[in-house]
């Protein structure tokens, strides 16, 4: 019996990454296989320091694996995928302080090297959904940690990328805003995007179609 093969939009094969700290070798990710199909939400869980962030960086193409490989869509050349294909919600290094909240979200178009690709209505929609509309022209340094994180989520979702990687996307949110963020990620997946959420929180993992658990 033949089945129609869905081309995965992201595929990791035998991916291994280790760091050395002094004479100690830390296996951040060891021989991991992961295939992500369009319209799929995968949660990566595990305790602190189990390698969740390293895995996100490997899947984003920001870090090269020591062994194995990561491929995106049909492109297997090994470079990191463009932002217009794969957007990331990282935990750190995420906002430019001298820009306003709105400008930080629109940075997506600069990161993607596309000028003003996104419709202004999309920005308005995301600002309103995240409760950021009043903060649009505020400087990024003036807003709270939770608001910063929502700004990053809005930036990642602005151009409706086919793949979204989120590293602890609700870590700094109250339950109300956590629900909004997870709802927006779920909406993106229902619209056909593939999404990976790295999280320590079991209730977040429950929303996923599939769960990958990392151990030390």
């Amino acid at each position: 019996m033949t089945q129609t093969q869905i081309t995965p939009c992201l595929q990791a094969e035998g991916v291994t990454k280790r760091f050395t700290r002094g004479s100690t070798v830390i296996w951040a990710v060891q021989d991991l296989d992961l295939s992500l199909a369009p319209g799929e939400l995968v949660a990566v869980t595990g305790p602190s320091l189990s390698g969740k962030t390293t895995l996100v960086e490997l899947l984003a193409g920001w870090t090269r694996p020591d062994q194995g490989r990561v491929a995106w869509g049909s492109d297997t050349s090994g470079g990191s995928p463009p932002w217009s294909y794969l957007a990331v919600i990282p935990q750190t290094f995420a906002l430019l302080e001298e820009l306003s909240v709105g400008e930080n979200i629109l940075l997506a178009t600069r990161i993607a090297r596309r000028r003003r690709a996104s419709a202004p209505e999309r920005l308005d929609h995301l600002l309103a959904a995240m409760g950021l509309d009043r903060l649009r022209d505020r400087g990024a340094f003036e807003i709270s940690v939770g608001e910063r994180q929502r700004t990053m989520v809005a930036r990642a979702l602005l151009d409706r990328p086919p793949v979204v990687l989120a590293d602890e996307p609700v870590a700094h949110q109250d339950p109300h805003h956590a629900e909004i963020i997870l709802g927006l990620l779920r909406d993106a997946v229902d619209d056909g995007a593939a999404c990976v959420i790295a999280t320590r929180r079991p209730e977040v993992a429950e929303l996923a179609d599939r769960v990958v658990t990392l151990t030390h």
Binding site: E57, T63, L95, E103, D137
Partner: protein
């Protein structure tokens, strides 16, 4: 004449923040100016108001009272967007924490290129030249998470000076640098000044203050002292004609009462 122009100036800057314990007076009336091509070092103990002062001069915050003038134009009336445009084009800012200026999505060279293009079109080779100048050429393809703290700070500095904004304001830019890195950065400062850029740097690092053409000393939200061109530190009379005693001198006056005697050309302060 070029030397008479001010890249920035401020009059009677007062900044009051609301906090749970009541209003906090971060700045209590500061007036000074920053001539084109000067390097001003801003010093003072923590809590003196240095970071607030820098953010106000950079138009990142609005003062409660007083005004900031950039390149001869008052900024108080600027609306949100015009203000953002002014900041983006004319002012480079280095935040105290380098991560506040960096994005994990972009490599070192992509950061500098983006910063350049946000201000002006990028001439061929300009970004590579700046990476060389800031010692980042070999790290061009690295991402912020793969950089040491000092390297992150150098990258934040390179972004702030990309496309040569008229005014560069830096909050403790050598704080995460090792001595060699601090020296390399300090060597870069006169090059920028000679090119007509105006620098305002908050620092405790003597390697930076030695390169400064002027030093401002903030204390308790006021401008306590300012060096003249000869380098001598002069006390500053504030708007209400007050001056502060130099640090450590209050011990001479345990009763906190002094006898002031006015002479035609000087004033004497002594224990009663």
């Amino acid at each position: 004449m070029l030397a008479d122009r001010n890249a920035a100036a401020c009059h009677d800057l007062v900044q009051v923040y609301e906090s749970a314990g009541g209003p906090v007076h971060a700045l209590r009336g500061i007036s000074t100016d920053f001539p084109v091509g000067s390097l001003t070092a801003v010093m003072g103990s923590s809590g003196a108001g240095k970071s607030t002062f820098l953010r106000l001069i950079a138009c990142l915050e609005r003062p409660t009272v007083g005004e900031v003038i950039i390149d001869g134009a008052p900024t108080a009336q600027l609306t949100g967007r015009a203000r953002q445009r002014l900041v983006a084009r004319q002012i480079g800012y280095v935040f105290q924490t380098p991560s506040d200026n960096l994005l994990s999505y972009l490599s070192v060279v992509e950061h500098v290129r983006m910063a350049w293009r946000m201000r002006a079109p990028e001439p061929p080779g300009a970004v590579d030249e700046l990476l060389d100048l800031t010692g980042l050429a070999e790290l061009a393809k690295s991402r912020p998470t793969g950089l040491a703290a000092g390297e992150q700070q150098r990258l934040a500095f390179a972004m702030a000076v990309a496309a040569r904004p008229a005014l560069v304001i830096a909050d403790e830019p050598t704080a995460s640098l090792d001595p060699a890195g601090a020296e390399a950065l300090a060597a870069l400062l006169p090059v920028l000044v000679a090119g007509g850029q105006t620098l305002v740097i908050c620092t405790h690092d003597s390697i930076v203050t030695d390169a400064a053409t002027r030093v401002l000393l903030l204390s308790n939200g006021t401008l306590a002292a300012e060096s003249d061109r000869g380098g001598e530190l002069l006390s500053v009379l504030d708007g209400a004609d007050r001056i502060q005693l130099p640090r450590g001198m209050t011990g001479l006056f345990p009763g906190r009462r002094v006898r002031l005697t006015a002479y035609p050309d000087h004033v004497r302060i002594e224990r009663p």
